[in-house]
Amino acid sequence: MSSEVAPAVIQQEVKRRSFLVDLLIRLVREKPAGTVGAVITLLLLLTGIFANFLAPYGYNDIHPADYLSPPSAKYILGADNLGRDLLSRLIYGARISVIVGLSATAISTFIATIIGVLSGFIGGRFDTIVQRFVDAWMCFPVLVILIAAVSLVGPGMLQIIILLGLLYGIASSRVIRSAVISIKENVYIDAARAIGCSDIKIMIRHILSNIMAPVIIIFSTQVAAVILAEASLSFLGLGIPPPTPSWGGMLSGSGRTYMFLAPWLAIWPGVALSIVVYGINMFGDALRDLLDPKLRGGIGRYGTKKSRGKGVR
């Protein structure tokens, strides 16, 4: 008897271990655009982590003699109004984007999960009240509520991260809540309750483990939005204060006078930002398609081979 059960168990173990590998293989095979996005995301991550090895100069190394120096062998992308190497500042800017993107999204995913699970699981009047607050919160444009909040707590990396996490967390708790509500109706939840599980245990063991797909999706789709929001704030002078190099801050209005003398200052931070946002979006989309069973085999997936071939006529 036991010898019959054993192989099945082993097979399951193997299958579970190779989930990530399987996902990677499917990503490369089915989603060329998503693969490009994954490579860009990976490059951003590596650039951020190893910024101090990659950058030829420090991000705040001032060389007054090289004021607005054009691109040259010494400064590949030119220098800014303080004679700081633009390339080095871009590379350190990647680090800022990585830190803000990942930590703010982590906070937001955490908040979204807590609000969503509690609101969806407890339900009833609690759910109604929480949802009305989420409604009220969501009728403000994100950027408007952000600049108002930042102006009050003052600019700074930590403030920005917490605010972005809070804002996006409340907004995306909706997705988690609806996932929880549909999971709550499953028989195994009743079964868990019948064997005497407490609410907290049900939430952690049975609900939380079953909403991992939407949680991962929220995480991956929000990184780009958060990076863009930070850049917009820094652009308005309400984000990360100088001399810390943020891509948005490097394009900021106060530096615009120098852009007329040194146009390269206006180009590269925007290029970097666009490529990164494109890459993360494509990667996130591909991940969503691969993880969300409802969309699997659906129509309109970017860069899939399976959906091709069937024309309109």
Binding site: R132, F133, D135, A136, W137, M138, C139, F140, P141, V142, L143, V144, I145, I147, A148, A149, S151, L152, V153, G154, L228, A231, S232, F235, L236, L238, G248, L251, G253, R256, M259, F260, P263, A266, I267, P269, G270, L273, S274, I275, V277, Y278, N281, M282, I299, G300, Y302, R308, G309, K310, G311, V312, R313
Partner: protein, 317 residues
């Protein structure tokens, strides 16, 4: 239908009430004070101390009383209070700048739809052709390239190459309609860009789904022309999610005015808000936020109402 609209309008009130709580208390409870800012300026001139300034601005009374007065003024007089610095009613300041923002937003919306729908439909009709890839590339680009960067590029490079720069002084529509539209077209295009990318994508996805339905095959086999099949049979059924996503984009569009008006120095609500934020003019900040929230809620209602127009099967109860 009428009962539905009335009920929805009534439902806006509690949401808006919660919004006033958020606006008022968030702005006043977080540290950082207008009094400090004013004290620095006024003490030199008039010798007023902090208490006197706080009293003059009405900031020395308990916060819940302040809130009560603020709400009372809104309900009884339709007033949003007065600017702390300029002493002018906030409502007047907002109404004065509203036309600029409305024109900008409306033009951005129209441009976004005019770009998104045709390209999205074409992309779906000619799936996996060069044209489709081109359309998809444009939509992805429009979504990834930040508007404030494009705005900066437009301010810098034409000025460098051709000595051309966007008009800084506002030309009013009543004075010169053509030049007014010319002034708004560039900022509106930049603003509509991100929205058109998202909308284009949704249009393509929905059209692809609808174009594979049985009734579309029936329409083809009846021998209808492509234009009729696509526009009358397919598009109308694909539009509901497209309208929804346009509605969802509205808060982002409104938020975008803050950045775009700043770049192109257009004196709209966004610029008013940014300046109010730098000078910590609470009544303006809360007033503008409340107006934006009310607007977003009304847009949500309008989006819901268009469903029945697009699909007669949708009924409101």
């Amino acid at each position: 239908m009428h009962a539905y609209i009335i009920r929805r309008l009534l439902l806006i009130i509690p949401t808006l009430f919660l919004a006033t709580l958020i606006v008022f208390f968030m702005i006043r409870l977080i540290p950082g004070d207008v009094i400090d800012l004013m004290a620095a300026e006024k003490q030199a001139v008039t010798g007023m101390d902090r208490e006197a300034i706080a009293h003059e601005l009405g900031l020395d009374i308990p916060i819940h009383v302040q809130y009560g007065r603020w709400i009372g003024d809104i309900f009884l007089h339709g007033s949003l209070g007065a600017s702390l610095w300029k002493k002018i009613p906030v409502m007047g300041l907002i109404l004065e700048r509203l036309p600029v923002t409305i024109e900008l937003g409306l033009m951005a919306l129209i441009i976004a739809i005019l770009v998104a729908l045709p390209i999205g439909i074409y992309s779906a009709m000619r799936q996996d052709t060069a044209g489709d890839y081109f359309g998809r590339t444009i939509s992805i680009l429009a979504m990834s390239v930040p508007g404030f960067w494009i705005g900066t590029i437009i301010m810098v490079f034409p000025a460098l190459w051709w000595g051309w720069s966007p008009q800084v002084q506002l030309i009013r529509f009543v004075d010169n309609p053509l030049r007014n539209l010319g002034q708004f077209i560039i900022p509106a295009t930049v603003m509509g860009m991100a929205m058109s990318g998202v909308t284009m994508r949704m249009t393509r996805t929905m059209m692809l789904e609808v174009l594979r339905q049985d009734y579309i095959r029936t329409a083809w086999s009846k021998g209808l022309r492509e234009r009729i099949v696509v526009l009358r049979h397919a598009l109308k059924n694909a539009l509901i999610p497209v309208v929804t996503i346009i509605g969802l984009q509205m808060p982002i569009l409104i938020g975008g005015t803050v950045i775009i008006e700043q770049i192109f120095s257009l004196p709209g609500i966004g610029l008013l808000q940014i300046n109010a934020i730098f000078s910590r003019d609470y009544p303006i900040i809360s007033g503008v936020m409340l107006m934006m929230a009310a607007f977003v809620l009304c847009m949500n209602l309008i989006v819901d109402l268009t469903y029945s127009f697009l699909d007669p099967r949708v009924q409101y109860r």
